[in-house]
């Protein structure tokens, strides 16, 4: 077993150990690894759940006046047949209702989004002739998880009971525009609220009393609400003179004063037969309300509110966007307060993601500490310190690789790390244990430290390599699991093998490097176990 010549490593484990054992670059490499890991941790987009590639498109075709059965025959069925021709479609579902047909094509999970949307669009456009006469243009709505699902939603409500129904909406609409201008915000949407509208509510008794028809009112109003661009003309000295025609209708009074008909030479004004008001859209049946629990534990009564929701662009950081929206809102807080408007953030996925991620990072650190303590008892504190150092280095490499491959930090990625944590200290433990054993064995007490390190590492190389390869092998088939679940769990087969391979390299390079500097060769005269 004893070699007197310099030990020649057979496995790449020993070769790595030998190359880095006395290299001045090893420490630089270590610092570099930790730095890129920290960099990746701070700049990678964070989200709660991993992004799933779900593609699908909904085609909506309206045919006014057709019954559900007609729609099924002339719109839904032909459309379904055409969409069936598209490659990659898993399910086609059709809904035929009175006046409108809706067909939805859901692609297999993992089918690429842009391509799938294009295929559906292409198919419909190529066959636009198949729709019946009188059908409206098809509306094709692609499914876009990132853009469709808001990351932040804010409810604005008024504490001022006298505020008109449209005022709140107008205020929020202004804020919406500002928030839409923030970086990486994709879509902002307003739910609830009422828009301005001039309402002409006709009294049916007066209508029949004056012997009028609704059609006459329509004609009268339309003839006065016409607007034209200003007329441009030139004067004799070649100056431009603009002449504009002012709109005949400016406010609800103008509407009320429209003459609907002449009756016995006296005009009938619109406000004689109808109530004309400049108020809100009375035909809108939708409404949104909110109730908040105050500090005393009492709920405020339900009151009208307007919800503004914000979604992000794909691959951007929900945490950053949520914070940007939050600070933007803070800047309006004072002016809103003056108007008696309060707001509550009713959804903050950024915060949720950040909490989930931070909690798991904390768990990760806790696990590392627990394992380090365990090692102190079994191996001694120096050995424990060495193994503990390898963990952040391995995680740093894995994180950086994940960043390069365009992954995000989410619950599943971190669970993959937690899962691999138990596995990735293995290589270092095995190496350090073997070094420890050689250090304390009587046979090798005459060898110099460097050779001992390289030999100990080299000896354990082949079985450790093959054992790590075995674990990687178990992860490989998991990458091929399809469906939603496969997509959802993808970070596990994507990151665990990387962590394991990194654990081998780190164990072979840094464990002997640190051991040679930190461990003291025991004095065998005292004896050992």
């Amino acid at each position: 077993m004893t070699h007197h010549k310099p030990y020649e490593p057979k496995d790449f484990a020993g070769k790595l150990a030998k190359a880095f054992l006395r290299s001045p670059l090893t420490i630089v490499l270590g610092i570099f690894l930790l730095a890129i890991g920290y960099l990746a941790l701070s700049i990678m987009p964070r989200e709660e759940n991993p992004q799933m590639v779900v593609s699908g498109s909904t085609v909506i075709v309206a045919l006014p006046g057709a019954s559900a059965a007609e729609i099924e025959k002339v719109i839904v069925r032909p459309l379904e047949r055409k969409l069936k021709e598209v490659k990659g479609v898993e399910n086609i579902s059709g809904m035929a209702m009175d006046n409108v047909g809706i067909v939805n094509a859901a692609f297999f999970i993992g089918e690429e989004k842009e391509g799938s949307n294009l295929k559906v669009y292409d198919k419909i456009m190529q066959n636009s002739g198949m729709f019946p006469k009188g059908a409206m243009n098809p509306i094709i709505k692609p499914l876009d998880i990132d853009v469709d699902i808001p990351v932040v939603s804010v409810a604005f409500y008024s504490n001022n009971p006298n505020m008109s129904k449209t005022e709140l909406y107008d205020k929020v609409k202004d804020i919406q525009h500002q928030i839409n201008g923030l970086a990486n915000v994709a879509v902002t949407e307003i739910k609830g609220g009422n828009k301005h509208q001039f309402n002409i509510e006709v009294d049916i008794n007066k209508l029949s009393g004056y012997n009028l028809s609704m059609g006459q009112i329509v004609q009268a109003v339309q003839s006065l609400s016409y607007s034209v661009p200003a007329i441009k003309n030139r004067s004799q000295d070649n100056k431009i003179v603009m002449v504009g025609v002012k709109n005949a209708i400016e406010n609800e009074k103008d509407v009320g004063n429209i003459i609907v008909a002449q009756y016995m030479d006296s005009p009938i004004y619109l406000n004689q037969i109808a109530t004309v008001s400049g108020s809100y859209d009375i035909q809108n049946f939708k409404s949104v309300s909110i109730s908040v629990q105050d500090k005393e534990g009492k709920f405020t009564p339900l009151q009208e509110q307007v919800t503004l929701s914000v979604s992000k662009l794909q691959g951007t950081n929900a945490v950053v966007i949520a914070n940007a929206v939050k600070s933007e809102l803070e800047s309006y807080k004072e002016s809103l307060k003056k108007n008696g408007i309060s707001f509550v953030i009713t959804r903050n996925d950024g915060e949720r993601a950040n909490e989930a991620v931070n909690e798991l990072v904390f768990h990760l650190l806790l696990s590392i500490v627990i394992i380090a303590i365990l090692l102190v008892f079994v191996l001694g504190w120096r050995e424990s310190l060495i193994v503990t150092f390898t963990v952040p280095a391995i995680l740093a490499i894995t994180l950086f690789t994940a960043y390069l491959t365009g992954q995000t930090i989410n619950r599943i990625t971190l669970f993959a790390f937690l899962l691999s944590l138990g596995l990735l200290v293995d290589a270092a433990i095995i190496v350090i244990e073997n070094i420890h054993r050689h250090y304390h064995s009587i046979e090798s007490q005459h060898e110099d430290v460097d050779t001992l390190m390289i030999k100990a590492t080299d000896e354990i190389g082949p079985p450790t390599n093959i054992a790590t390869l075995a674990i990687i092998m178990t992860m490989v088939p998991m990458a091929f699991v399809g469906q939603m679940m496969g997509q959802f769990m993808k970070p596990i087969p994507a990151n665990v093998p990387v962590a394991l391979i990194a654990s081998l390299f780190v164990a072979y390079i840094f464990t002997p490097y640190l051991a040679v500097r930190m461990l003291k060769k025991p004095d065998h005269s005292k004896g050992s176990h």
């Binding site: 739910k191 509208q197 109730s291 709920f299 959804r347 394992i371 293995d426 178990t474």
Partner: protein
């Protein structure tokens, strides 16, 4: 300690009785753990368990044709219960539309909601760290109360509780797709299936995805009279629409407002309401509407038409070009597998009065109506389908992992027997996984399910425990070849020496997994790793040495020249 263990192993592997006892004990444990899953249901399987969320949504669906004020009444009823909850920070009611879209809503079609009979109520709860009651238990507690009091306000109202899914979203836990060729028959069958679901324990939020049929009135136009009176049908349609629905007849551009301001015309609220829902009231109201013909004469609309009552046209749904309807149900804190089987049994037994039932595929049914010979199919979808697919695919991944490891070992050792021993040793960790779930189930308040993540943990375990066996065999090999030890001594010495790193790595895995075990979704993975690792350690330190001793190691290690050593065998 070290020496003791070495001697124990040495004695153990050399005594035939102990060898047999160990192997027999393993076999019994293995059979016992398999029994725990399949027939006795001591360990229940589910794709993913419930997750503690900071928010959930209540959907209220009234019968089609219900008005917004009726919907509001139901929503208000729900809100009175919501406002009794201490842990709710705020709640939002969305009448006539869906709430801002989330993962669950995306699949459930919340973004398409645009009618008077729907409402969504969002509940935001206090942060889960400061809350004792998990959201799923809160839902379980509120559900019967809310449904009992608010669903009864109007017939056919369905109130469902939608929680953010722990994993991928699905339409519902249980979806029965009923395919057929005529809408009437599908409707009848769907109603029966829904009744079965309602009476199955563990199933809640039962809903049929179909439009209720309600009373409407149809205006039949007398075309001869229309032509003779000098008006047109378009004019007639427009006036009717204007009067009751109202229309934006013009717009006004505005500098001050954010949108164009429409000018909207309709009858006033008081004058357009029918006195009641019957034919007479409709006719009376229409009689006061008049049309002006081409020579300026006023013609009452009722002169040109007559009105007949009729039923509404329900929506026709199809999936993959076949007409169908979904019957959906959620599970109340139980796995969907067992209620589904129960419901299926009830269907098999009780539907035979009107249908001939055949089984197709794994669980699906084909029903032929005896009187009409019309054929219907009942296909299970939803979480059940996803679960089945996931378990099958993960199972396949597991088998693939076993094969890959076996091939790797064969390449490394060039021996089928040694590779087989490693594989067998790894496979035995399944005992630990199943028993671990059983133990956790006893100690946790609600059911602890064997989930997809448990399977993932199990797959990872295969690798971990094969690593243990591998290190052991490798060391035995080097002891035999380099130190010339006898087989039994080498195995015993190797086992004892390798025990320390094996224990260490196992402890590392167990400690790292304890934090996983606390998570709702990944609890299964944590438990699988903790108990599986324990089983793996036992298997590689007890069972693998026995198996090694029983195999012809010299041959498998390819020690041709050292064969002579075995002469010392007792």
């Amino acid at each position: 300690m070290f020496k003791k263990f070495e001697n124990a192993v040495l004695a153990g592997i050399q005594s035939p009785i102990q060898r047999k006892m160990i192997l027999f004990g393993t076999l019994v444990a293995f059979i016992f753990s398999i029994l725990m899953i399949a027939p006795t249901k001591m360990v229940l399987a589910k794709m993913l368990p419930g997750k503690n969320n900071d928010t959930f949504t209540i959907y209220a669906n009234l019968a089609n044709g219900s008005s917004i004020s009726q919907t509001k009444q139901v929503a208000d009823c729900i809100i009175t219960f919501v406002q009794q909850e201490k842990e709710v920070t705020d709640t939002e009611v969305f009448l006539g539309m869906g709430s801002p879209l989330d993962f669950a809503g995306l699949i459930k079609g919340s973004h398409f909601k645009n009618s008077e009979n729907v409402a969504e109520i969002v509940l935001n709860l206090t942060k889960k760290h400061h809350r004792e009651e998990p959201s799923y238990l809160m839902v379980q507690r509120m559900r019967p109360l809310v449904q009992k009091n608010c669903e009864s306000l109007y017939a056919d109202t369905v109130i469902t509780f939608v929680e953010p899914p722990a994993g991928p979203p699905v339409l519902a836990a249980i979806v029965a797709e009923i395919y057929g060729r005529d809408a009437e028959g599908i409707r009848k069958l769907a109603a029966r299936v829904s009744d079965v679901f309602k009476n199955t324990k563990g199933l809640v939020d039962v809903d049929i995805m179909q439009d209720e049929i309600y009373d409407t009135y149809e205006i039949i136009v007398d075309s001869t009279k229309v032509v003779r009176s000098g008006v047109s049908i378009k004019q007639l349609n427009d006036i009717l629409y204007l009067a009751f629905e109202g229309m934006e007849i013009a717009v006004k551009n505005s500098d001050i407002y954010n949108d164009q301001v429409p000018i909207y015309l309709s009858l006033s609220e008081e004058s357009k309401r029918f006195t009641k829902k019957d034919l007479n009231a409709v006719e009376i109201k229409l009689s006061s509407l008049k049309l002006m013909n081409n020579i300026g004469m006023m013609i009452p609309i009722t002169e040109l038409i007559h009105i007949i009552p009729k039923k509404s046209n329900p929506m026709i749904m199809s999936k993959n070009l076949h007409q169908m309807t979904n019957v959906m149900a959620e599970t109340d804190m139980v796995s969907q597998v067992y209620p589904l089987m129960e419901a299926r049994d009830v269907i098999l037994n009780s539907f035979s009065d009107t249908y001939n039932i055949e089984k197709i595929g794994l669980f699906n049914l084909r029903l032929t109506e005896k009187s009409t010979m019309k054929v219907y199919e009942l296909i299970w979808d939803g979480e059940m389908e996803v679960t089945l697919d996931t378990f099958v695919e993960l199972g396949a991944a597991f088998i693939a992992a076993l094969i890959l490891i076996f091939l790797l070992m064969v390449i490394y050792y060039k021996s089928y027997t040694l590779s087989g021993i490693i594989l067998l040793g790894s496979f035995l960790s399944i005992i630990g996984v199943i028993v671990g779930h059983f133990i956790m189930d006893i100690f946790s308040a609600d059911t602890f399910f064997l989930t997809a993540t448990s399977l993932i943990g199990f797959i990872a375990l295969i690798g971990i425990s094969s690593r243990n066996s591998l290190l052991l065999i490798d060391f035995t090999k080097s002891l035999m070849s380099e130190k010339g030890l006898h087989k039994a001594e080498a195995i015993a010495y190797a086992t004892a020496t390798r025990a320390k790193p094996i224990f260490l790595t196992a402890a590392a895995i167990i400690l790292a997994s304890t934090l996983l075990a606390g998570d709702a979704v990944f609890g299964g993975l944590g438990v699988a790793l903790i108990f599986g690792t324990v089983a793996a350690v036992i298997s590689s330190l007890v069972i693998v040495p026995v198996l090694l001793y029983m195999s012809d190691l010299e041959k498998h290690f390819h020690f041709h020249e050292k064969k002579a050593v075995s002469v010392f065998e007792p």
